[in-house]
């Protein structure tokens, strides 16, 4: 009898833990469903083609309300692309430095230091973008102000770097020592080994790191809200003032009357954001798993 009661208790406890485990799936699905159900009513009034392909976003216009997100999408991609252009080479270089060049004591100190960079809150990075990076950019490019896509890219690069560095370094370290030893035994220098053996072997991990950094950059809100100038125009260059999707939502969510087309449209932007970051994460996942399987 005692055993049956104990079994019941065990089963109950297991059920409890199971529920907690499944919670993650429930939350993800919940977010997705909420976005979808709140976004769909927008399309009663907005044509899907206009939403996705029109460059003009002006829901409160006295002339004609416009709901095109193309400019925002391109702005997001531009700022993210610029960030990756900066962060990927530097990130891989730092990862290579930490795994191959640095003395292990130096590495023990520098790894946490890089993690410190990851800990700086986004609003502080944005603040530094306004007070520090903006004036520098204005001086270098003679633009009069530093509130543009370039500023956003630089800041996002700084925020994506720790992710890229950390995962790339892990992947470089995970290259089997047999590979390195073989290469060195054949007479290659450490540099040649790094370039021709380790980097290619760790490539999938590095790609995954890049994608995760990209996801982080796409989803960043406060930093870009503070430094990119928030102009609604379709961007023509990095020195233009741009508005990303995340800023677009943050700017208008506070003032929008509930349950209007404008309100639903903002959630539609959120849905697009969710889908993009989900896709990026999925690809990173697949790449990471392929690389893990190969190691086994």
């Amino acid at each position: 009898m005692k055993k049956r009661r104990r079994d019941l208790k065990e089963a109950a406890i297991r059920a409890f833990f199971f529920t907690c485990g499944v919670l993650a799936v429930l939350v993800l699905v919940g977010i997705f469903l909420t976005l979808v159900t709140t976004a769909v009513p927008a399309f009663r009034e907005i044509k899907l083609s206009e939403f996705l392909f029109s460059k003009a976003w002006d829901p409160t216009s006295p002339e004609k309300a416009e709901y095109g997100i193309l400019s925002m999408v391109v702005s997001t991609l531009m700022v993210t692309g610029g960030a990756l252009l900066l962060a990927v080479p530097i990130g891989i270089a730092v990862a290579a430095y930490l795994s191959d060049v640095a003395h292990w004591r130096v590495r023990e100190v520098l790894k946490p230091v890089v993690e410190v960079l990851a800990a700086v809150p986004s609003v502080v990075v944005g603040f530094l973008g306004i007070v520090l990076i903006g004036p520098i950019l204005a001086k270098i490019f003679h633009t009069g102000n530093g509130l543009n896509a370039a500023n956003g890219s630089i800041l996002l690069a700084i925020m994506a770097l720790p992710t890229i560095i950390s995962i790339s370094e892990d992947s470089l370290n995970a290259v089997p020592t047999a590979y390195n030893e073989a290469s060195l035994a054949l007479g290659a220098s450490r540099w040649q080994t790094l370039l021709r053996v380790k980097l290619p072997a760790g490539l999938s991990g590095i790609i995954a790191a890049t994608m995760l950094g990209m996801g982080r950059a796409i989803g960043e809100t406060m930093t870009v809200l503070m430094v990119t100038g928030n102009a609604r125009a379709f961007p023509h260059g990095f020195l233009d003032s741009v508005r990303t999707m995340t800023s677009g939502i943050a700017i208008e969510l506070g003032e929008v009357p509930y349950y209007t087309t404008h309100y639903y449209a903002l959630f539609a932007i959120g849905l697009v954001l969710f889908v993009i970051t989900f896709a990026v994460n999925l690809v990173a996942d697949v790449v990471l798993r392929k690389y893990q399987e190969r190691e086994q």
Binding site: A56, S61, G144, F234, I251, G254, Y258
Partner: protein, 299 residues
Amino acid sequence: MKKIAIIALAALALFGSILPAAPARKMIQVKGSDTMVNLVQILAEEYMGKTPGAAIAVLGGGSGTGITGLINQTCDVANSSREWKPKEIDQAWEKGISPRFFVVAVDGLSVVVNEKNPLEQLTVAQVGALYRGDVKSWKAVGGFDKAVSLYGRQSNSGTYVFMQEFVLGNKNYSADMKEMNGNAQIIEGILQDEGAVGYVGVGYVHDQSGKIRKGLKVLKVSKEPDGTGFLPTDKAAVDSGAYPLSRPLYMATNGKPKADVAQFLAWIVGPEGQSIVEREGFFTVGEGKYRAANDKNFK
């Protein structure tokens, strides 16, 4: 595990002891205009200093946010630097809200440029052309040879809407306008940008000593192409309407304001509140039509 729990409980106890023995009264929630947020926050601070038991929370977000807040009943008072749109009034009625408006200050919306800009005056039409994006170089309006760099607010701003209605002729803003998060950010941008132009509430152009901010120039605005231009800092011009961009600043309540809200509003439009309004660089309500309308709304 236990240690964390103990620390957490201790922290809660510590905070519990710091919290003031607050009265049972709930806080008056004031939301809305960024143009007014600093003014109202200072008014609230001084009012609370003089009135024991008063509790006022001031949130910003832009005039649009305040209006939405009053309609959705998430605030008691909505600050707006513009009138409500007919659509908004309809929405309010639909939800059973009957907005009542009190003019608490008058603003001379200022057109500001960098001090290096040689211009001294523009007509309303010219300002509109600049902001619609019809004119892209300062030379076209008689200034120097530089590209126009537009600074403005976002669509939740009453100032944005007011400009759109009265200066842009209800047309779209140029998509190249940089939409800043607040009046202060506009000023900051202009100080560093020689080709810049921006619009801000008159309370934002002065520095702490009451003089115009160094590096900033406030333009005179005239109604007609050959008319006399006036400065928004000219009280007589603002009061008489000679300055074309003067506008009342409103605080709206749902129907007749409750006792504590009414007391606060009455103080604001009274001599003490109005002297603070003046001190902060805005203009007083005066003795004319605004005061009459206010008095009626208190009843």
